[in-house]
Structures are given as structure tokens and as C-alpha cells.
């Protein structure tokens, strides 16, 4: 049992957006905690609120409610000046290294930007030494120091994004789909880099991705999101070997495995993700769930700790009975 206080505690965090058709519940009452040096994976499909959650918890977007405590203090209540200090310690790397870098700035200017904005390393010589050091850290050849983003490939651009986020020696980094725009070989290089940086500097990561094999590779624990809510949260091994929520089960079964002859009992979900605008009471997943019962349409299931460290938001976890006699999930991957 761990006695150390978690580094990050998110409590009942909410972010609603006003739209013409009503309130869009992007993040709807999410709670979790992260220990120092840990990687929490955040997975879900487009529109499930994972990126919004990543932004709200470090206050790039103002929340509609809830708390995000870092080292015990709720940064969502911080006044502006204190928040600015805080920003040095929490950073973010964005998905698209094509649109998140200013095309008119060279590599050295891009990496210098956070240093200048926060007035650290005011002396040019010292700053240049820091820039060179950061380029070494993320594996950018020093000869590229005067290159512009358009001259570089996606992998190198993403290395600039990472160097920028590391410039102020943060403790906590939100990685928002950092490898999704990259080819598999470059993706592998960046994943190895993030892993070795974490070992070297003890960073704490939130790793947001829709790619389940990537998330499994990098994460200690994984939270699965569906329509603004966490439906399951568990260590990565249990999540992949025995998913408890029907949505997690379907999601895992849908991954095409790059292995021959490994066919699984695929659960094909019917229909699409419903609208997050003014969602009705009840389980968000019930419309597509194979195990729906009456209670699911009226009562929203809480995220409960089924056993130590394994959280699931389903009324019938471990007691799923198929509603229409459709195939039941069996944990087996190999079915001939």
C-alpha cells in the first residue's frame, strides 16, 4: 500500500461548452490521481473529452467546476500571477507539430521562447548553452539550430515541441497525442525518447492517445474515457488482460493485431457515439451496450473501486449478462 501523497489529484472536474443546441458536456465530473514519476494513459475515441481534460487540468481552458490539485494545492483557484509561476512546472506537448510551431521562428528561437517569456537565463550566452543542451537532450542535431520548421520532418518538429516543454524544467507534462501524426518508425523513436527522459528526469506524464497499443506501451495506469466520463481506470496489465467495462472490452477487441492467425472474438459495436450535448441521465454507453438493463437507462453508474486500484463505472461489472443473446466477451485473444 502506498502512503505517499499523490502528486496530482483531480476531483469532479467539469468542462462544459455553450453551443446553440445546449450545453456540451466535454468533461463531466472526472476524478483521478497521479503519483510522482508515473504515466497515466488517457484513451478514448474522438470527442470523448480526453484532450479537453488534458487542457482543463493544467488550466489552458478554464474549468466549469471541480478541482485540480498539484502537491495538495488547487491550481484552478490560483490568482493569475501565481498561475504564471505554476505554468513553469506543468507543460504540454501538442499533437500536431505542423501547426503548433510558429513557422517564422528558427529552431533556436522556438526553444528560446519559453526561456524569454519567463525571463530565465537572461544572458544570451547562458541561454544559448541551455538551448544547445535541450537540443542534445531531445536528440536534435546542433547543425539544425538555424533551421525553420518547414525544413524539418514531423519527428524532428515533434522533438522541438518536446524541447520547448522541457525548457523550464517542469515536473508534470501533458502529452496530447504526441505521436499520432507520425509514421510508425518515427513514432517508435519519439516513444523511446519520452521514456528515457522520464527515467532521467523523473517526469510525471499524462499521455493522451487514441492508439491503444501506444498507450499500453507507455502507461503505468490507464483511464478509458467515453463521452466526457472515465468508464474504467486501472493498471495497464489488468486493463488489457481483463477489461471490466463493456466499452473497454469492445475497444480492445477492435484493435487489429499485427500478427497472423491471431483472431479474437471481435465485439462490433452498433451505431456511433451519441451527442455530448445535454446527455440524458443514465449510463452514457447504454445505447450501444450489449449488456444493457433497465437501471442503465435511468441511473448514471459511479466510478467505483471494484478491487484495490481497479475502478469501473458500470452497474454490472463482473456480472454482465448479454441483453439480446449476443456473443459474450471472453478474455481469450486466440480463437481459431
Amino acid at each position: 500500500m502506498e502512503h505517499t501523497k499523490p502528486m496530482v489529484e483531480v476531483k469532479d472536474l467539469k468542462k462544459y461548452f455553450k453551443t446553440k443546441r445546449g450545453m456540451l458536456h466535454a468533461v463531466d465530473g472526472v476524478s483521478f490521481s497521479i503519483s510522482k514519476g508515473e504515466t497515466l494513459g488517457l484513451v478514448g475515441e474522438s470527442g470523448c473529452g480526453k484532450s479537453t481534460l488534458g487542457r482543463v487540468m493544467i488550466r489552458l481552458l478554464e474549468p466549469s467546476g471541480g478541482e485540480a490539485r498539484f502537491w495538495g494545492e488547487n491550481i484552478l483557484a490560483y490568482p493569475a500571477r501565481k498561475m504564471k509561476e505554476m505554468r513553469k512546472r506543468v507543460q504540454i506537448v501538442f499533437q500536431d507539430p505542423y501547426s503548433s510551431l510558429n513557422p517564422r521562428l528558427s529552431v533556436s528561437e522556438l526553444i528560446a521562447e519559453p526561456l524569454l517569456v519567463n525571463r530565465v537565463y537572461p544572458g544570451a550566452a547562458e541561454r544559448n548553452r541551455k538551448i544547445a543542451e535541450l537540443m542534445d537532450t531531445v536528440g536534435l542535431a546542433r547543425r539544425l539550430i538555424n533551421a525553420y520548421p518547414h525544413e524539418l520532418d514531423g519527428g524532428r518538429r515533434q522533438r522541438i515541441g518536446i524541447a520547448r516543454s522541457l525548457a523550464l524544467s517542469p515536473e508534470f507534462i501533458v502529452l496530447d497525442e504526441p505521436v499520432s501524426a507520425l509514421d510508425v518508425c518515427i513514432q517508435a523513436q519519439i516513444l523511446n525518447l519520452l521514456n528515457s527522459l522520464q527515467k532521467q528526469f523523473g517526469y510525471t506524464y499524462v499521455f493522451i492517445s487514441h492508439n491503444l497499443s501506444v498507450v499500453k506501451h507507455v502507461s503505468d495506469r490507464i483511464a478509458v474515457m467515453y463521452l466526457g466520463k472515465i468508464v474504467e481506470l486501472s493498471d495497464y496489465r489488468s486493463l488489457f488482460s481483463e477489461p471490466l467495462h463493456p466499452y473497454t472490452q469492445a475497444l480492445l477487441s477492435a484493435i487489429p493485431l499485427p500478427k497472423f492467425g491471431k483472431k479474437r472474438n471481435r465485439i462490433i459495436l452498433e451505431g456511433d457515439v451519441p451527442s455530448p450535448i445535454e446527455p440524458p441521465e443514465g449510463c452514457r454507453f447504454q445505447g450501444r451496450c450489449l449488456y444493457r438493463q433497465e437501471i442503465c437507462t435511468v441511473k448514471t453508474p459511479e466510478l467505483r473501486e471494484l478491487e484495490p486500484g481497479r475502478f469501473v463505472a458500470c452497474h454490472f461489472a463482473r456480472a454482465l449478462v448479454p441483453a439480446g443473446g449476443k456473443g459474450q466477451y471472453n478474455g481469450e485473444r486466440t480463437v481459431s
Binding site: A188, S213, F240, P258, F260, K262, K263, I268
Partner: protein
């Protein structure tokens, strides 16, 4: 007459783009064949030449700057490169259909989906407008879209549903060959599963051959009988899916597999391919992969490798890796 007539037989196809920075050798000496009803996976990273090859088959390579420099594309025994534009127009969408990656941009936003399908049907069949529209509704039902939604516009559908409409258009004229260029890359994984399932089911129903262009080896394992791995404009390995997945021959193929995080085991570090894709206007001499290859020997920088058959039907363009197999083969004969 061979017992199995080839549906598609590409011989020595080379396609170039003439750019200000020099000629880009997008496709170099491509040889591929496809029997009726067969499924071929076409795998490679961005810029490997997969899409250009597909556009070449359809004779849709934008020209200029693109140019088909040499080769033959025999389709049902006839060379597509000798066809007139008018003949090609009858083939495209008729006997050969293509599905593009992004369903959001391949549909016309101001025309209802039934009309878009009917347009294709009318173009290739002698039918009245009413018959074509009825056929459109049938096609929509085939891909799982209800009759009531036929008069809807593309923006009223979700991404997965739009891709279904695109598939309905592609299959409306019963093509014998379907080329799908990353058909599920823009979709979420549960929706991707729906679309792949649908494509499998439809293929069984109408017995179309399929060329599946993808970067996802998982999709290949599920959908394809044969695989061609492309690197810098060339096919470096070509084999039955089972052989390629169980014992990949080319160092690049091996590197691709090692780059994918494994769901069934824990590994700290991924074994990456060192370096980057080469500049397409300035490819390394000899084997284009040799600067990144852990097995490279001196000869690799001098001689461009040719395809060697290491096992029946398993071709590898790497003399270093092929040698042990070929030596073993010789001993077997002696």
C-alpha cells in the same frame, strides 16, 4: 494458357514526379500481380509510393508533374497504359473502383447521397434515372444505411457513415477490382472495426479483388492474402501474409514490426530503425535502405538488390538476408 488467369499484372512500372528540386522517383520498377478474388495489402510509410502506384493503375497520376515513365499495367490481359482517356473513364468506377482515405473530402457536400451513388450508376449502366436511384437506395441498404436517410446530405452523417456511403459508390457498379487507399485511417477504432467487417462481408458477397493500401500491419493481418512492403518507391518484400508475418525477410520489414508496441508483451524500449526516410530526390545509391540497415555490407551501397525468391512465393530484395535461404536451397538440390 495458365490455369489461373491474372486479373492485374503490373510489369516494371516506374512513375516520376518532375519537381524543381529534381526528379522524384515515386515508383521504381514495380512488379505485382493479383489473381481474381485475391486481397493484396500494400504497406509502407508516408512517401513510400503506395498511393502513387494506386493512382498509376487508375491512370490518375497528376500530370504534370507526374509521369509514367515505363512499364505495363495489364488488367484482364490488356495494357491500361495503351487505353484512350475515354476507355479509361469507362473502366474507372466501372471495373476498377477506388476508395480514398478521407470520406469527408471525397463526397460532394451539396448533393444528397443517393444522387451521388446514382450518378455513378448512370455513368456506367444503361438505366433510367428512377432505376439508378432505386439501385442507389439498394446500395445504401447493403452498406447498412437505412432507406430513409438516402435523401440526406453528407454533413448529416458521421465519419463512419460517410465512409459507408463512399464504399456504396465504389461498389455500385460491381467492380472486379477495388483499390482502397487507407480507407479507415480517418476513423476511430470501433468505427474502423465496423467498416472493415463491412468490407469483408461485401467482398464475400460480390467476390471483388482488393488492393488495400495501409500503414497498419494489423489491418493487413486481418484482411489480406498477400502483402507487398514498399520502401522509397520500391517493393522490398512480397509474400503471402502468413509467411511475411511469421518470418519477415527484409530488414526494413523487420524494423517495421519492431517499431510497433506489442500488446501481448511488455517491452521497455522499442527496437527502432535508425535514421530517417531518405530524400526522394536524392536516394542513396545501391539499396535505398542501406544507410539505415543493421545488416548492410559493402556491396549494399553499390548494387541495387533484385528480388530473390527465398521460399516459393516469398520474395525479398535483400541479397544479404536471402543468401542463407538460397544456399540452403542449393544444398537441398545437391
Amino acid at each position: 494458357m495458365e490455369e489461373k488467369r491474372l486479373l492485374l499484372d503490373i510489369q516494371d512500372l516506374s512513375i516520376r514526379y518532375e519537381t524543381e528540386g529534381g526528379a522524384v522517383h515515386a515508383v521504381e520498377h514495380l512488379n505485382l500481380s493479383l489473381a481474381p478474388g485475391e486481397n493484396l495489402g500494400f504497406v509502407g510509410e508516408t512517401g513510400a509510393g503506395k498511393t502513387t502506384s494506386a493512382l498509376g493503375i487508375m491512370r490518375l497520376v497528376p500530370s504534370p508533374p507526374g509521369r509514367i515513365v515505363s512499364g505495363k499495367i495489364l488488367f484482364e490481359g490488356e495494357d491500361l497504359l495503351n487505353k484512350s482517356e475515354e476507355e479509361m473513364r469507362a473502366i474507372r468506377g466501372g471495373k476498377i473502383a477506388m476508395i480514398f482515405q478521407d470520406p469527408m473530402t471525397s463526397l460532394n457536400p451539396v448533393i444528397t447521397v443517393d444522387k451521388q451513388i446514382a450518378e455513378m450508376v448512370l455513368l456506367h449502366n444503361d438505366m433510367t434515372k428512377e432505376q439508378a436511384e432505386e439501385r442507389a437506395v439498394e446500395m445504401l441498404e447493403l452498406v447498412g444505411i437505412k432507406r430513409e436517410r438516402a435523401r440526406d446530405y453528407p454533413h448529416q452523417f458521421s465519419g463512419g457513415m460517410k465512409q459507408r456511403v463512399v464504399i456504396a459508390i465504389a461498389l455500385a457498379c460491381n467492380p472486379v477490382l477495388l483499390i482502397a487507399d487507407e480507407p479507415t485511417t480517418a476513423l476511430d477504432v470501433t468505427i474502423q472495426a465496423q467498416v472493415l467487417e463491412l468490407m469483408q462481408e461485401l467482398r464475400r458477397k460480390i467476390n471483388t479483388s482488393l488492393i488495400m493500401i495501409t500503414h497498419d500491419l494489423g489491418i493487413v493481418a486481418e484482411m489480406c492474402d498477400k502483402v507487398a512492403i514498399m520502401y522509397a518507391g520500391k517493393v522490398v518484400e512480397y509474400a503471402a501474409t502468413e509467411a511475411l508475418f511469421n518470418h519477415p525477410g527484409h530488414p526494413y520489414t523487420e524494423g517495421l514490426f519492431n517499431s510497433i508496441p506489442d500488446l501481448d508483451s511488455d517491452e521497455e524500449e522499442l527496437k527502432v530503425i535508425r535514421g530517417l526516410m531518405p530524400d526522394p530526390t536524392n536516394l542513396p545509391g545501391g539499396c535505398a535502405f542501406h544507410p539505415r540497415c543493421p545488416y548492410a555490407v559493402e556491396e549494399c551501397s553499390r548494387t541495387a538488390p533484385s528480388m530473390a525468391e527465398i521460399e516459393p512465393g516469398h520474395f525479398v530484395a535483400c541479397p544479404v538476408r536471402a543468401r542463407p535461404y538460397l544456399d540452403r536451397g542449393k544444398q537441398g538440390v545437391e
